[in-house]
């Protein structure tokens, strides 16, 4: 339970830059998620905090102390690995006790602490089992108990849920977050799953190609994405390429002219959240109103996605909440799409980027 500070943390492998100048301040008890596609440097960053990778530059501070040069076994960081990394030849209790033994805790105290850690993850009855006798979900909880038993200053989670099946993941992510909040332990998690990140984090750090693209709460990332990458990666966005003709007017490559927020003229991308678009009659009153043709309809239960072609080069996805009275449009129907000018987010930089 301590504050974690990363200052200009970098890792180079020869000419390749895995992580570039990451600066991050994780408050006491905060849950931070590093989010990004594979190869974006998020795992390397976590491993530098754990001490498995020596940074090329920058500092790591934990609870005010500089631990940049400390070896992993002197950092008091509890880590949960993607593979769980349980010791296959030790029982559940011995796995959990391992860190306590390494800390030379008295033989009398260890069983109490092990039992406490196992109770925390609801595995009281499993102390004598071997890891291979447990299900994936149970193994994951043993890994968590083992990391928590040493009462670490910081908890590091490396894609801890990626080996669980989809339905189990839904409940476990909430459980882990509630446990972390209860214990008030500073936590850094790495994931490539944006839904997982959105559900669990206090703040998110979006990374790409070794760099931090944006740090912020869910709402900040979703409503004010810093660039095109974040707009596409966190939540879904319709991205339309084109240019700003004059402040407030945007022309797509497909030739449509749209109302948009103010921005300097020049090449740009406009990002539209699917759920900010409306279809049919409600489109009448909007600043932007385009006639289009329905090309694809997905009934997703809570929402309905409608893919509408609005110009030969432009197709947008509209997400509507599914009300009992919602009528599903059919493929080929003509339909109007509308949205207010302020629903568009403009990126002038990096317009050529994917």
């Amino acid at each position: 339970m301590a504050r974690l500070e990363l200052q200009n943390l970098s890792k180079h492998y020869g000419p390749t830059v895995a992580v570039r100048e990451v600066t991050l301040d994780v408050g006491d008890g905060e849950f931070i998620v590093l989010l990004g596609p594979s190869g974006c440097g998020k795992t390397t960053t976590l491993r530098m905090v754990a001490g498995f990778v020596a940074p090329t530059g920058g500092r790591v501070r934990l609870g005010g102390q500089d631990i940049t040069a400390a070896p992993p076994w002197k950092r008091n960081a509890g880590m949960v690995f993607q593979s769980y990394a349980l010791f296959p030849h030790l029982t559940v209790a011995e796995n959990v006790a391992f860190g306590l033994e390494m800390r030379k805790m008295s033989k009398a105290e260890i069983p109490t602490r092990v039992a406490e850690a196992l109770r925390m993850v609801r595995l009281d009855g499993y102390a004598e089992r071997l890891p291979r006798q447990l299900s994936g979900g149970q193994q994951q909880r043993v890994a968590l108990a083992r990391a928590l038993a040493i009462r670490p200053d910081v908890l590091l989670l490396d894609e801890p849920l990626s080996n669980l099946d989809a339905k189990l993941r839904e409940t476990v992510r909430v459980e882990i977050r509630e446990l972390q909040r209860e214990l008030g332990i500073t936590t850094v998690m790495v994931t490539h799953d944006q839904e997982e990140a959105l559900i669990m984090a206090d703040r998110l750090v979006v990374m790409s190609e070794g760099e931090v693209r944006q740090v912020g709460t869910q709402r900040e990332l979703y409503e004010r994405p810093a660039d095109r990458f974040v707009a596409g990666f966190v939540g879904r966005s319709n991205l339309l390429n084109g240019k700003v003709l004059q402040p407030g007017r945007f022309q797509t490559d497909g030739g449509l002219t749209l109302a948009c927020p103010d921005a300097a003229p020049g090449p740009a991308v406009i990002a539209l959240r699917p759920e900010r678009l409306v279809l049919g009659a409600p489109a009448q009153g909007q600043a932007n109103r385009l006639p289009g043709t329905v090309e694809f309809v997905s009934y997703l239960g809570a929402n309905i996605d409608v893919h509408v072609r609005v110009s030969p080069a432009d197709r947008v996805v509209v997400s509507q909440p599914n009300r009992p009275d919602t009528r599903l449009p059919a493929v080929g129907d003509g339909i109007d799409v509308g949205w207010p000018a302020e629903a568009g987010v403009l990126f002038t930089e990096g317009a050529a980027r994917t």
Binding site: G51, W73, Q82, A85, F87, P88, R146
Partner: protein, 283 residues
């Protein structure tokens, strides 16, 4: 409701089983014959046997060549296995863990003793020992104490280590390849130093590979004839050399009996090892 698909597949299956059975018989037949022969009563093998007897087994014990050979073979094989593991396990760790410059060459080099004919290897090592003795002869200490290299037990063990190393490195490398490296990192993050992590986590987990390596190293060293022929000192014999010398002199079921004992010894070692490690999975 048996579909033709099934029929042709079942047929294919039988054909395959036939081949497998054939291979099995082919490997087993000579062994079965030698076991049978070891119980024949008469001295010159002929069919049908005059009767059965255990006397050839008792003959072995009264022949000092066999008993001395057995003891020397054991000494050499145990020594070579221990030294081979002490060198092979670190080498395997090195190969499995680091992408160092000499990795590929070293890896290929380790195959050498498996593929260079024993007679070549034997010659090479013999010549090497001869030259070493000559070179060493120029040192006063060697002259004064009359240290011999050629034919010494140490030299023989050193040579046999060459036979053990490829097996020990390959088997241990295979178990290390199956080891999730993050379990060692987990140990480090829980406060274990690298040395503690190695002895409390890595070593217990790769133990099956080490046991298998020891078994194979021992067996290969114990049974080696080609290299040993050149290196064994005057008046000494290992068991395989004793068998060869006996055969030059006469052929009777004693040899079959010795072979059966040796197969039993190896078989027992394999069965015991198999309880620790599924051999067919490691090797």
């Amino acid at each position: 409701m048996t579909a033709p698909t099934l029929d042709s597949r079942t047929l294919g299956r039988w054909a395959f089983n036939g081949v497998a059975g054939g291979v099995m018989v082919f490997i087993l037949l000579p062994l079965i014959f030698v076991i049978w022969l070891s119980f024949f009563r008469q001295e010159i093998p002929s069919f049908p046997p005059d009767g059965y007897s255990l006397k050839w087994y008792s003959v072995i014990w009264s022949n000092p060549k066999f008993t001395d050979g057995f003891i020397l073979s054991m000494q050499v094989a145990v020594g070579a296995t221990i030294v081979g593991l002490l060198l092979g396990v670190p080498a395997a760790l090195c190969i499995a863990r680091f992408r160092f410059l000499g990795r590929e060459p070293l890896n290929n080099l380790l195959l050498l003793p498996l593929v260079v004919p024993g007679i070549v290897l034997g010659t090479a090592i013999y010549v090497f020992h001869v030259e070493l003795q000559i070179l060493a002869g120029t040192l006063p200490i060697v002259r004064d104490y009359d240290i011999t290299i050629i034919g010494s037990l140490g030299a023989l063990v050193a040579a046999h280590v060459l036979l053990v190393i490829p097996w020990s490195v390959r088997l241990v490398t295979a178990s290390l390849a199956g080891l999730d490296r993050s379990i060692e990192e987990a140990a480090l993050s829980l406060g274990a130093t690298p040395i503690q992590a190695f002895f409390r986590v890595t070593l217990p987990v790769i133990r099956p590979g080490i046991v298998a390596a020891a078994l194979f190293g021992f067996v290969v060293s114990f049974g080696n004839l080609e290299m040993t022929l050149f290196l064994v000192g005057a008046g000494r014999t290992t068991l395989p050399i004793a068998i060869l010398q006996y055969l030059e002199w006469k052929i009777d079921p004693t040899i079959a009996a010795v072979s059966v004992l040796q197969i039993l010894l190896i078989g027992t070692a394999m069965v015991i090892t198999d309880r620790f490690v599924k051999l067919s999975r490691v090797v």
